[in-house]
Symmetry: C2
Subunit: 388 residues, 2 copies
């Protein structure tokens, strides 16, 4: 096992990338963004009422092949609502990977529920289905079609796989696990717009899913997110509770349950519509870049570049170097050197079970995730880098 030759790594990356500073993921706003935004401002419809919200929702449903999309202020809000809509309540546990952005866990706590951390695997960088099954077999008991954690006594209500960096998780196995243990499956598809598992867009596998259109995502609205579902009843409720749960009336203000103000302003939706018009180009360009990384970095010893599984099609949102296990001690040196050289790079998130506020949450053994955390380095992945 040889260590990573850092100057060689830098030199190949510099060869792939344009001269100058390369960000991790920059938005590309060169389509109709300005045109549609101008339309909003000139018509006065910048706010919640307006046609771009409807259009964006239609186009998202069409693109993902799902029945309904409900756009919201951001991916965190989308996840919060997804969990509410499948019935997560106070004191429930929700199974989530420890290796995810903190928003996944935060959304669980917004419901008064408790994150229960699950391990990840190298194949998908997402939840390890085999280990999860064995773990649930051991610690759960099913009573009246509900799953209980024998150790804490709490109900385990939902399972939230996340498609890490846009790479589809092994969702088919997770669907089976959700069925076996009577768990609601909620996909955190924040990073996986444009990613497919066996030809089906991510988000289609559970009852409901969340997207993010944050500034660093493949499609951005400044800030934004969406709830995706194939269940029309849930879609109706999603629209209702994200818009203050107001009952339509000529003038009366009657709200029939505790709602949220999670609606996406029309002006942000306008940007989203323009972005979606270019998503095929974004995906093609990002795939070109990913293939260059995979191809050219195969010459560097001591690391590999993550490649989609053969039945998956990744959006390659963030390209990922995986250090060989023996070289994890080089991670921070590589990060420092790449960043110094204007090649923006970062490690994966700190495992959530190590954060102060989540350190006492229930969890399985998390060796897979802990090791991955030391091995992952994300490298520049903007659309425009694929153009070179």
């Amino acid at each position: 096992m040889s260590k990573v030759n850092i100057p060689q790594l830098v030199s190949i990356l510099k060869d792939i990338l344009p001269i100058g500073f390369n960000a991790l993921h920059e938005p590309n706003l060169k389509g109709n963004e300005l045109k549609y935004v101008t339309d909003c401002i000139e018509s006065g419809w910048v706010s919640s009422v307006g046609s771009y919200v409807d259009l964006f929702e239609e186009k998202l449903a069409e693109f993902t092949g799902m029945k309904k999309a409900i756009v919201v202020v951001n991916g965190t809000a989308a996840l919060h609502m997804c969990l509410k809509l499948v019935g997560v309540i106070e004191n429930d546990e929700v199974l989530i990977p420890t290796l995810t952005f903190v928003a996944t866990a935060n959304a669980v706590t917004y419901c008064g529920a408790i994150p229960h951390f699950v391990d990840s695997e190298e194949e998908s960088l997402g939840i390890d289905p085999i280990k999860l099954d064995a773990y649930l077999e051991e610690i759960t008991i099913i009573r009246k079609n509900e799953c209980f954690n024998k150790l804490t006594g709490r109900r385990i209500k939902a399972l939230v796989p996340m498609h890490t960096f846009g790479h589809p998780v092994n969702i088919e196995l997770l669907v089976k696990i959700a069925e076996k243990y009577h768990l609601e499956l909620v996909e955190d598809a924040a990073e996986s717009l444009g990613s497919y598992y066996k030809g089906i867009h991510t988000g289609n596998f559970g009852k409901i899913a969340a997207l993010s259109f944050n500034g660093n995502k493949i499609v951005t609205t400044g800030g934004g997110g969406a709830i995706l579902t194939n269940d029309l009843e849930i879609a109706k409720m999603a629209k209702h509770i994200t818009t203050t749960a107001k009952i339509p009336h000529k003038w009366d203000f009657i709200h029939d349950c505790i709602g949220y103000n999670y609606r996406l302003p029309n002006i942000n939706a306008a940007i989203g519509v323009a972005q979606l018009e270019n998503i095929d180009y974004f995906l093609t360009s990002k795939r070109k870049l990913a293939n260059q990384y995979i191809d050219r970095l195969s010459n560097v010893q001591g690391l590999s570049v993550y490649k989609e599984q053969e039945f998956s099609e990744s959006n390659y949102w963030l390209n990922t170097i995986l250090l060989d296990i023996n070289n994890i001690y080089q991670r921070d040196e590589i990060l420092t050197e790449l960043n110094n050289q204007g090649i923006m790079s970062r490690p994966v998130w700190k495992s959530l079970h190590t954060l102060e506020m989540y350190k006492d949450c229930p969890r399985m053994s998390l060796e897979g995730a802990e090791l991955l955390e030391k091995r992952i380095i994300n490298i520049p992945s903007s659309v425009l880098l694929g153009e070179k």
Copy 2:
């Protein structure tokens, strides 16, 4: 006591207003909105990083005379954070008017706390301080500098007055009540940007306050809000928890408490900056319209138009007709007729204690609010209407 002559009312309103349909409150986006938004799109900075967020926060602090403003996705989020930041936790009670938009109560529930409904008075359309004092005297007990509800056993943590339609509440008395009963004072200033109490901008009277920049507000950002405070420590914490509580680091993702993604995108802040540049004009124009309503409708018997108290300066966000008590039975007829005539009008919100999800919350007797609810009709108040 004479009843309202509806044809006369319509005819005077038509004389004041331009020909055609008149909305309740339309945004005015004729300043630098398009210029700044274009700048965001052309520079690629539509998202959370970007200079308009900082600039908008500075300008808001300057305009309101407060030390710090922290902009967020909307007024509801701002209120939620205000309550968290003054220490409202699960099972606390929070005193709020029953006559407010539902978001005030919802924000309380997001903290796991319980709204406790308070009566309103005709003078300010906001909380009745005299009645509140008498009520708290009766039902509370102070233990170790904390206020407890003797009837429920729960702690009463905060008092949230709201400046209805931009008209300043009798805040001086409420400040005294908050002190007397050891309550945190949080101002719901969602509607009162540009409103002053004895020359001091609303929002300055408690520890923290919330603004809204929803599409119908005096200044809009599509959707948006702000937290205002004179306490620098709270301001720092507000910024931290509204931006996922991430600790600054070159690359590590460490979050030190449960945070929120409540940040306002740069593109929405850009609109806000342009809007604030014109606020003096907005306020002047709205005041002209209000004065016309007050003046001309004094000829209509059986109703009055709400006028700011002599020590207050209202932004006249929404102009308000108050039916004489004997004429409340005419409310729906007037609403129907005005709306039919293209003069958009609406009643005040349905009192929150009458909504299904809040009907079992603690409350004082609410006769003042219940009567006001039957008497109030809001009439068109857009900036451009003052130009005629």
